[in-house]
C-alpha cells in the first residue's frame, strides 16, 4: 500500500541513534587513558550524515509511515535540516570548548546526539503519543546536559530546576493529550483534525488544547512560563546553552505550529488572542528584564524569551503566511543565537571565568576577529537589515500586519528598539578602548581552535545568507507551510492592475 519503506521515513533519526550508540560503545571499549575528544568528531560526522539524509528525504513523496505516526513532508524536512545543522555547530563548538580532562565526554556527545533524535522525531511525529515520547527523549538529554558541570554549584542547581519545572510542563502536555483523546477518541493528528469541528464536547477540547499549549510554551520559554530560563542558561555550560536555546525550541515551535494550524485551525478565535497576549508578554518581560542584567548569559537568556515573543507574533498571521514566517524566524534565530553562544563560549571560558558584561570591555582590541563576530551577531539580534535577524522580524511582523494585528507589530517593533539598548550595550562595551594596560594583562587572548572556527564560520555564513539571499530558505519554509495549510485562495489584491489611466 505504501511504496516507501517505513524506515526511510525516519532515516535521519535512525542515523542519529546509531551514531549515539556507536559513540557510547566506543567510549566504553576504549581504555580509560585514551583521550575521548575524537568521539566528538564521530558524533559530528554522524550528524552530518543525518543532515544529508534529511535532504535526501526531499526525494520521497510526502506521506506517513509506521501506521500513521511519523511523517515526511517539506515541513518536517525543513526542521530536520535546521535541527541537524544546529546540533552540528554545537558539536563543533563542544569539541574545542570542553576541557581535555572533563569527565564523561563520551556520554556528553552521546547525549547531544540522542537529544537530536528526540527533537527530529518531535518535528516529524503526527501522533500525539509519539510527540510526547519524542519530547521526553529530547528533554531528558537536555536535563542531564544542563547539569554537566557538576563540580560547580550552579550546574546541578540548573539541572534540578530545569528537570522539576520541565517535568511539570511535560505533565501538562500529556494531560492535554489525554483530554483531547477523551474528546475525539484518537491521538492521530489528522484524525483529531477531522474530528475537532464535530466533536460533541468542545469544552474538553479547549481544555486539552490549552494544556498542550502550556506544555509547549514552557519549552519555548515564553512568558509567563519562562522563569526557569535565566537560571538554567547561567548554570549550564555555554556550548550546551547554544544547543538548548535553539534546537529544542525549534522542535517545540514545529509542534506548536502543528497543534494550532493543523489540529485546531477552527478554534483560531480562541488561540489567536491567547498567543497575542503571550507574545506581547514575552517580548516585554524578556526585554525589560534583559535591560537590568550584568551577566551576559542571563542577558541572553532574557533575550531568548523576547525572541520567543517575536516569533509568536508570526502566529497572528493567517494560514500559510504565519507558518512560513514562524519557520523562517526559527531558522534565523537559531543561526544567530548559536553563533553568539559560540562567541560567549570562547570569550567567557568554559568555566565562566569572564561572565560579566564588563569583562568584554575592549574585546575588539584583544581579539579583533572575535570582537567583530560578536558585534555582528548582536547587530543581527537587534534586527539590522542585511542580517538574518532582520528578515526574521520582518516576516514575523509582516505576517502579523497581514493578519491585521497591527498593534502586535507596533509593540513588537518598539520592543526591538528597547532590545537594541542591551545588545548595543554589550557591542559598544566590546568596542570601547580598554583603559590602560591593566585590563589587557589580566585577560588572556581567547584561544580559537579549528572546530570553533568552523562553527563560527557556519553560523556567520548562515546569518548573512538569511539576511542577503533569504529566497531559498523562505521558499523551503513556504513549501513546508503549504503542507500544513493549503495556500490562501485570496492572494493580496493586486491593485496595480486596477489603476485608472494617468
Amino acid at each position: 500500500m505504501n511504496p516507501v519503506p517505513d524506515i526511510f521515513r525516519i532515516l535521519p533519526e535512525v542515523i542519529l541513534t546509531l551514531t549515539g550508540v556507536a559513540v557510547m560503545l566506543i567510549d566504553a571499549s576504549l581504555p580509560s587513558a585514551v583521550p575521548r575528544r575524537n568521539l566528538g568528531w564521530v558524533a559530528a560526522i554522524g550528524t552530518t550524515f543525518a543532515l544529508w539524509a534529511s535532504l535526501w528525504q526531499l526525494s520521497l513523496p510526502q506521506g506517513t509511515g509506521f501506521f500513521g505516526t511519523v511523517e515526511t513532508s517539506a515541513f518536517t524536512i525543513f526542521f530536520h535540516v535546521l535541527i541537524c545543522g544546529i546540533v552540528l555547530v554545537a558539536l563543533l563548538l563542544s569539541l574545542d570548548a570542553l576541557p581535555e580532562n572533563s569527565h564523561h565526554q563520551g556520554e556528553y556527545y552521546a547525549l547531544v546526539v540522542f537529544g537530536a533524535v528526540g527533537m527530529c522525531l518531535l518535528t516529524g511525529a503526527v501522533e500525539l503519543l509519539v510527540v510526547f515520547i519524542a519530547l521526553e527523549i529530547s528533554s531528558i538529554a537536555s536535563y542531564v546536559l544542563a547539569g554537566y558541570r557538576k563540580q560547580t554549584a550552579r550546574g546541578p542547581e540548573a539541572a534540578i530546576k530545569y528537570f522539576l519545572l520541565g517535568s511539570f510542563a511535560t505533565a501538562f502536555l500529556l494531560y492535554g493529550v489525554a483530554l483531547i483523546f477523551g474528546a475525539t477518541g484518537t491521538t492521530q493528528i489528522y484524525e483529531i483534525a477531522r474530528a475537532v469541528p464535530t466533536a460533541l464536547n468542545q469544552p474538553l477540547l479547549l481544555a486539552g488544547m490549552a494544556l498542550m499549549l502550556v506544555g509547549i510554551l514552557f519549552k519555548v520559554s515564553a512568558a509567563p512560563f519562562h522563569v526557569w530560563t535565566p537560571d538554567v542558561y547561567e548554570g549550564a555550560p555555554s556550548p550546551v546553552v547554544a544547543l538548548m536555546s535553539t534546537a529544542p525550541k525549534a522542535a517545540a515551535f514545529a509542534v506548536m505550529l502543528r497543534v494550532v494550524y493543523e489540529i485546531f485551525p477552527t478554534l483560531r478565535a480562541t488561540w489567536a488572542p491567547l498567543l497575542w497576549v503571550v507574545a506581547v508578554l514575552s517580548m516585554t518581560v524578556g526585554n525589560l528584564a534583559a535591560l537590568r542584567q550584568q551577566n551576559v548569559k542571563r542577558m541572553l537568556a532574557y533575550s531568548s524569551i523576547a525572541h520567543a515573543g517575536y516569533l509568536l507574533a508570526a502566529f497572528a498571521g493567517l494560514g500559510s503566511s504565519g507558518i512560513a514566517a514562524a519557520s523562517f524566524y526559527t531558522a534565523a534565530y537559531a543561526a544567530m543565537n548559536v553563533g553568539i553562544f559560540a562567541v560567549i563560549t570562547v570569550v567567557g571560558g568554559y568555566n565562566e571565568e569572564l561572565p560579566m558584561i564588563d569583562d568584554y570591555r575592549g574585546l575588539l582590541y584583544r581579539s579583533p576577529v572575535l570582537g567583530s563576530v560578536l558585534i555582528f551577531f548582536l547587530v543581527s539580534l537587534v534586527g539590522i537589515p542585511f542580517t538574518g535577524g532582520f528578515f526574521g522580524k520582518f516576516y514575523s511582523f509582516s505576517a502579523a500586519v497581514g493578519g491585521s494585528a497591527i498593534w502586535l507589530a507596533i509593540i513588537g517593533l518598539l520592543n526591538s528598539g528597547l532590545a537594541a539598548a542591551y545588545y548595543l550595550r554589550l557591542a559598544l562595551v566590546s568596542a570601547q578602548r580598554p583603559d590602560g594596560d591593566a585590563a589587557q594583562s589580566t585577560t588572556p587572548e581567547p584561544r580559537v581552535g579549528i572546530a570553533v572556527s568552523a562553527a563560527l564560520l557556519l553560523a556567520v555564513a548562515a546569518t548573512l545568507a538569511l539576511g542577503i539571499v533569504p529566497n531559498a530558505v523562505l521558499r523551503a519554509a513556504e513549501a513546508g507551510a503549504h503542507t500544513l495549510q493549503p495556500p490562501p485562495q485570496n492572494e493580496p489584491r493586486n491593485v496595480i492592475d486596477h489603476l485608472p489611466n494617468p
Binding site: Y365, I375, V382, V401, L413, L424, V495
Partner: protein, 508 residues
C-alpha cells in the same frame, strides 16, 4: 556608454564596500588602510561625478535606473535610480568621503583597519539611502547607516563613547519601528514596496484616509528625529562631541532631510501639507533655540551641534513652506551646509588634534600662530553665516524670501533673527579662538600650521563655496527639475505652484 549608465549606481554602491573588504584583508601597517580608504573614496567620488554629466535634464525623472527583483515574497527589488532631488546629494556624499578620510589621517591612531572598514560601510549605506527607490531597500540602508556610526562613536568617543553611542542609536532606531510598520502596512494594502507605484496609488486615493494619515506621521516622526527637528534633537550634541570628525561631517542632516523630501512629501503630499504649519513653527523654534544655545556653549563641538540644529531647522522651514523656490533653496542649502560643515568640522578637528581640547576659552590669539588655519576658518565661517557671494547665502536667501513672500511674514522675520544670531555666535567663536591675546595653551605648543595635504584639500573646498555662491545656476536647474516632478509640486490641486513663488494654497 549605456553599460556604464546602467551600472554606475551599483558601482557607486559597491566600490566603498569592496574597499572595506580590502581594508579588512590588508595588514595594519604603514598607513596602508588609510591609503586604500583614500583611494576608494576618490574612485567613488569620481564615479559620482559621472552622474551630473550624464543626467538628461530635458528628460527628467528617475535616471540610471536599475531594477532587479531580489526577493520574491515579499516583493523586494533592487531598484535604484536618481533624479534631480538626489543627484547632487550623491555627489556631495562622494565629495565628503575623501575629506573624511583625510580628516581622520592623523586623528585615528589605533585600530585604523576597523575605523576605515566601518567608515566605508557607512559610505555605502549613505549612498544606498540616496538612491533606493524600493521602500524596503531604502529602509535597509537607513538602518544599516546607524551601525558603523554607533560603533565608531563608542570606539573613538572622547569622553564617554558608549553612552553617547547608545543614545544616538536608540534615538534613531526606535522611531524607525513605526516607520517599518507603516511600510509594512502600505505593502499589506498594495503588495508593492516600489516608490513610484506607491506614489501613484496614494495619489489616486487607493488608501483609507485615516490610517494613511498615521502612516505619514510615522514616516515624518522617523525623519524628524534624524534631522533633528526641535524638540527631537536630544541626541545631536552628544553625538557631535563624541563622534570622530569624519563621521560627524558625513552624517549630519542630509539623510533625514532627503528622506523628508522624497518619502514624506513625495509619498504623502496631502498629509505633509496638513502637517506643514506645525513643522514650520517647530522649524522656527529650532532656528532660534539652536542659535541661542550655540551662543552660550563653551565647547566648540557643542557649539557646532546647536548651530547645526539651527541651520537644519532653516532647511526644514524651506522644505515645508511648500513653495517651489523654498524647496529648491532648501536642497541647495543642504548641499552648501554639507560642504561648509564638512570644512568647518575638518578645521575644528585640526585644532582638536593639535591642542587636544575643545574648550573655547583655552584658545586665543591663534591667528598669529596658525595663519593659514585662521584664513580658512574665517572664510568657512563667512560661508556658513551666509555672506553674499559665498554658498550659504544662496540657500538662505531663497528660503527666507520664499517664506516671506509665500508663507508668512512673521515666521520669516523670526527665522531671519536666527540667521543674525548665527552670525553672532560664529563670529564670536572666531574672535575667541583666533584673535585676542595668546592663551597659555596656544603659546606653549609649537605653531603647527596646516600641512600641504590639508591645504590641498581645503582650498578647493573654499573655492567651491565661492563658486556655489556666485554661480548657483550650475546646480539649480537640476534641483528645480527634481522639485518640479509630480507630485512634489505639480500634483497639488488648488495651490498649483509656478516658478514665481506665488503664495500657496492654504494661506497661513
Amino acid at each position: 556608454m549605456n553599460a556604464i549608465n546602467d551600472s554606475i549606481l551599483t558601482l557607486i554602491l559597491l566600490v566603498p564596500l569592496a574597499g572595506a573588504v580590502l581594508v579588512a584583508l590588508v595588514p595594519d601597517r604603514a598607513k596602508l588602510p588609510n591609503w586604500i580608504a583614500l583611494f576608494t573614496s576618490l574612485v567613488t567620488f569620481g564615479l559620482t561625478l559621472h552622474l551630473p554629466f550624464h543626467y538628461d535634464l530635458a528628460r527628467g525623472g528617475f535616471q540610471f535606473v536599475v531594477y532587479k527583483p531580489w526577493i520574491e515574497s515579499p516583493a523586494i527589488a533592487y531598484h535604484v535610480g536618481i533624479d534631480g532631488l538626489s543627484l547632487w546629494l550623491v555627489v556631495l556624499a562622494g565629495l565628503l568621503a575623501p575629506i573624511g578620510v583625510v580628516a581622520s589621517w592623523n586623528a585615528i591612531q589605533s585600530r585604523r583597519k576597523v575605523f576605515f572598514v566601518l567608515f566605508l560601510i557607512q559610505q555605502t549605506a549613505m549612498f544606498g539611502v540616496f538612491i533606493s527607490l524600493d521602500l524596503m531597500l531604502y529602509y535597509g540602508f537607513w538602518e544599516l547607516s546607524l551601525v558603523p556610526m554607533a560603533i565608531l562613536i563608542a570606539m573613538y568617543g572622547r569622553k564617554d563613547g558608549p553612552k553617547a553611542a547608545l543614545k544616538f542609536f536608540l534615538f534613531t532606531f526606535i522611531p524607525s519601528a513605526p516607520l517599518l510598520v507603516a511600510i509594512l502596512w502600505l505593502y499589506a494594502k498594495t503588495g508593492s514596496f516600489d516608490f513610484t507605484t506607491l506614489q501613484t496609488l496614494i495619489a489616486y486615493g487607493q488608501f483609507p484616509a485615516g490610517p494613511l494619515c498615521w502612516a505619514a506621521l510615522a514616516f515624518l516622526f522617523a525623519f524628524a528625529v534624524k534631522v533633528p527637528v526641535f524638540p527631537l534633537h536630544g541626541w545631536l550634541s552628544d553625538t557631535y562631541s563624541e563622534a570622530p570628525v569624519a563621521l560627524a561631517m558625513v552624517v549630519a542632516g542630509k539623510l533625514g532631510l532627503y528622506s523628508m523630501l522624497r518619502f514624506h512629501i513625495g509619498l504623502f503630499p496631502v498629509q505633509a501639507r496638513a502637517a506643514a504649519p506645525y513643522l514650520i513653527a517647530l522649524a522656527v523654534i529650532g532656528i532660534l533655540y539652536g542659535a541661542c544655545l550655540a551662543l552660550v556653549q563653551r565647547d566648540f563641538w557643542k557649539l557646532i551641534a546647536f548651530a547645526a540644529v539651527s541651520h537644519l531647522s532653516l532647511i526644514v522651514l524651506g522644505i515645508y513652506g511648500f513653495t517651489f523656490i523654498g524647496t529648491s533653496g532648501a536642497i541647495y542649502q543642504i548641499l552648501s551646509h554639507g560642504v561648509v560643515d564638512g570644512a568647518l568640522f575638518f578645521l575644528l578637528g585640526v585644532l582638536y588634534e593639535r591642542y587636544a581640547t575643545s574648550q573655547i576659552n583655552a584658545y586665543g590669539g591663534l591667528a598669529a600662530r596658525l595663519p593659514s588655519t585662521a584664513t580658512l576658518f574665517v572664510l568657512t565661517t563667512l560661508a556658513m553665516i551666509g555672506l553674499p557671494i559665498l554658498s550659504g547665502f544662496v540657500g538662505e536667501f531663497l528660503i527666507l524670501s520664499s517664506t516671506f513672500g509665500g508663507v508668512s511674514r512673521g515666521w520669516a522675520v523670526a527665522a531671519s533673527l536666527g540667521v543674525i544670531l548665527g552670525a553672532a555666535y560664529m563670529l564670536w567663536l572666531v574672535q575667541r579662538v583666533f584673535y585676542g591675546p595668546q592663551s597659555e595653551l596656544v603659546a606653549s605648543r609649537p605653531p603647527n600650521d596646516l600641512h600641504l595635504g590639508e591645504l590641498a584639500l581645503l582650498w578647493p573646498i573654499v573655492v567651491l563655496t565661492l563658486v556655489m555662491g556666485v554661480a548657483p545656476s550650475i546646480w539649480l536647474p537640476t534641483i528645480e527639475q527634481g522639485v518640479h516632478r509630480p507630485p512634489l509640486i505639480t500634483h497639488s490641486g488648488p495651490g498649483f505652484i509656478t516658478l514665481t513663488s506665488t503664495p500657496m494654497g492654504g494661506q497661513r
